[in-house]
């Protein structure tokens, strides 16, 4: 490079740099592993100086939303407390012991979301060191937004529910019909495999059904907003995601209790 700088003109260096850039672009398309390694390395190094900025962004965002969210959250907490009380009373009347806690959530900040993979995946600032496990459910404001697919020491990648490869067992809350919630890679969600004779209607809510220790059952996914044509005896439904998928700044990663075995 020193020889190039000394002997050549800027336009020639520029031409070579364009060719080099195009070659890197071309080669990186065929070597996903190397590209991914380089991306992870650069992101890993930059994560240290970026930490204060991330927290600053988080504070700005949180303080902006705080006033708006506070009333809404208070209302929800009140409703949930009443519901919880009623359930505990019902359990006591039936002579059933209260179940032990199945785990909690870990708050994480979204650190990267590529435009070309907007509906596919995003990266968060929590990883294996913080206890994040592969396959764990990721939620926002109490609604499922995806699951962890790759875990590094201090960061993880989350596959969004709108990803074309995302499939998850789901249940219609009002009828307990089981189906599969799937994304299409374009920001839309569908509920598949509901038998045509079932009385499932628009406005009904859909949540996760029991499938593994890292995805809790009953986690809200969204609402049915439309029912498409029946195919081979099954209905296909359009879902509206409950979470604001275009405004994901913070998410909650499900942390199963340590006693639960990972499946």
């Amino acid at each position: 490079m020193r020889i190039l700088c000394r002997e050549s003109r800027p336009w020639l260096n520029s031409f070579i740099s364009v060719l080099a850039g195009a070659a890197i672009l071309f080669l990186s398309a065929g070597t996903d592993g190397v590209k991914h390694g380089a991306v992870e390395l650069v992101n890993g190094i930059l994560s240290y100086p970026e930490k204060p900025v991330l927290y600053l962004r988080n504070i700005i965002k949180l303080s902006g939303n705080w006033v708006l969210e506070r009333d809404n959250l208070n209302e929800r907490v009140e409703k949930l407390e009443l519901k919880n009380l009623a359930l505990e009373e019902a359990l006591q009347r039936a002579g059933v012991k209260s179940p032990a806690s199945k785990g909690g959530y870990l708050r994480a900040v979204v650190t990267l979301r590529y435009p070309q993979e907007w509906w596919q995946e995003l990266r968060i600032d929590k990883g294996a060191q913080e206890g994040v496990r592969e396959g764990a459910a990721v939620a926002s404001e109490g609604f499922l937004v995806g699951r962890v697919t790759r875990v590094s020491a201090h960061s993880s990648w989350v596959e969004l529910i709108t990803s074309s490869s995302f499939l998850i067992a789901a249940a219609v809350d009002q009828t307990r019909d089981l189906g599969v919630a799937a994304g299409d890679g374009r920001g839309h969600l569908r509920l598949l495999y509901i038998p045509e004779e079932r009385n499932v209607r628009r406005g009904m809510s859909v949540s996760t059904s029991l499938m593994s220790d890292v995805i809790p059952p009953g986690l809200a996914i969204g609402t049915i907003i439309g029912i498409d044509e029946e195919k081979e005896g099954y209905k296909e439904m359009r879902l509206s995601a409950g979470a604001h998928l275009t405004q994901l700044y913070n998410v909650d990663v499900f942390m199963p209790s340590s006693g639960g075995a990972q499946r």
Binding site: R6, V18, I24
Partner: protein
């Protein structure tokens, strides 16, 4: 070099703060352009700046675009092109206004390159592109003012 590294980092921090809101203009590229077009810069120094722009762009790609080579090729190409145009201009015509025009052209080429090769063309991407260009206007004006002062100092 330290100054350019700091500017790259500041640009990264600014993009992190505005992630999801808008794309920020490439201040790192505009700074290199400013340094490359200063009157006392030799061709050797300009060539070195082309490669600094290339590696800065490569880092940007690895951090933000996930398309290694895209920003580096655009950055290296744009700096070389700007130096070529600048050399073809007569010395009397190398005014802050001419600098402003070259900077605006470079910023536009950079943003268009990203718009067509990186983002998925949509109404929201177009809005982000326009916002990026609007933010670039005061930045370019500041650089042109600095360029005018530096030219005056050099007589």
């Amino acid at each position: 070099m330290i100054l350019l590294s700091l500017i790259w980092l500041l640009q990264d921090f600014a993009q992190l703060l505005l992630m999801g809101i808008c794309m920020i203009p490439d201040v790192f590229l505009l700074t290199i352009l400013f340094i490359a077009l200063l009157p006392e810069k030799s061709k050797e120094e300009q060539s070195k700046l082309v490669w600094i722009a290339f590696f800065g762009g490569l880092l940007w790609d690895l951090r933000w675009t996930n398309l290694p080579g895209l920003t580096s090729a655009i950055s290296g190409g744009v700096i070389g092109l700007a130096c070529f145009i600048w050399q073809k201009l007569p010395a009397i015509g190398r005014t802050p206004f001419a600098f402003m025009a070259v900077s605006a052209f470079c910023e536009l080429v950079y943003a268009l390159g990203h718009y067509f090769f990186w983002t998925i063309p949509s109404q929201s991407a177009l809005r982000q592109f326009i916002v990026q260009q609007l933010i670039a206007v005061p930045v370019i004006i500041i650089f042109a003012w600095l360029f005018g002062r530096a030219s005056e100092r050099n007589g």
